[in-house]
Symmetry: C2
Amino acid sequence: MHALGRQILVEFYDCDRDILTQGDAVRDLMMEATRQSGATIVTDTFHSFSPHGVSGVIVIAESHVAIHTWPEYGYAAVDIFTCGDTINPWTIQKHLEEGFSSQRVSSMEMRRGLFPDAVPHKPVGFDIGADPVLN
Amino acid sequence: MHALGRQILVEFYDCDRDILTQGDAVRDLMMEATRQSGATIVTDTFHSFSPHGVSGVIVIAESHVAIHTWPEYGYAAVDIFTCGDTINPWTIQKHLEEGFSSQRVSSMEMRRGLFPDAVPHKPVGFDIGADPVLN
């Protein structure tokens, strides 16, 4: 069975709480991380909530990258949904881990859209260069 | 351990391929499904890709709802990320299942952000009214 897409669900614990409250800082880190991964950015939308917390999504030609932060817990949930072989999602994880100063990272990889003969319109194939942190 | 958020990953197989190609139809279904769930819509962004395929994300006060379609496979991947007790994510799944005429639905529920004492700024607690389709 081949997958049309893959999705990395990342839990960033023990982060710098101050950064997680700042919508601009979270957006800057997410955008730079996504650029470094080789993704083609289509659009993005970020929102800061009261009393705190940032939600943001970057739509990429290869699917999306999303974040939700809970500064009061020093926690951020990030989803990296990709298809094709042009993106290294671990680049995004690593950049955010450093940017948030996360002291504990947990990742899970999901395969989405399983077909015996999957040859999607976006090329399939993965190139995992960096070392993922798997807890 | 309590979770700050929960996420439903839904695989819609054997869908109406014509609908999955139509950006407006996909957006309309996603928006209506999200409204019916009780979510507060903050913003949305949808894009149609060449030669086919639609990607879209609705940012809600309670996190996000995202979709990617592969019309050539009759397949759509949907993520419903929520926090708080005001949303019924299965309402979204059911509305989309009918709208896409999906003949095979697979769902997985993830708990995000686990803490022993989680009392997030967005209220926690789940109210599952509809019957989920779990394969």
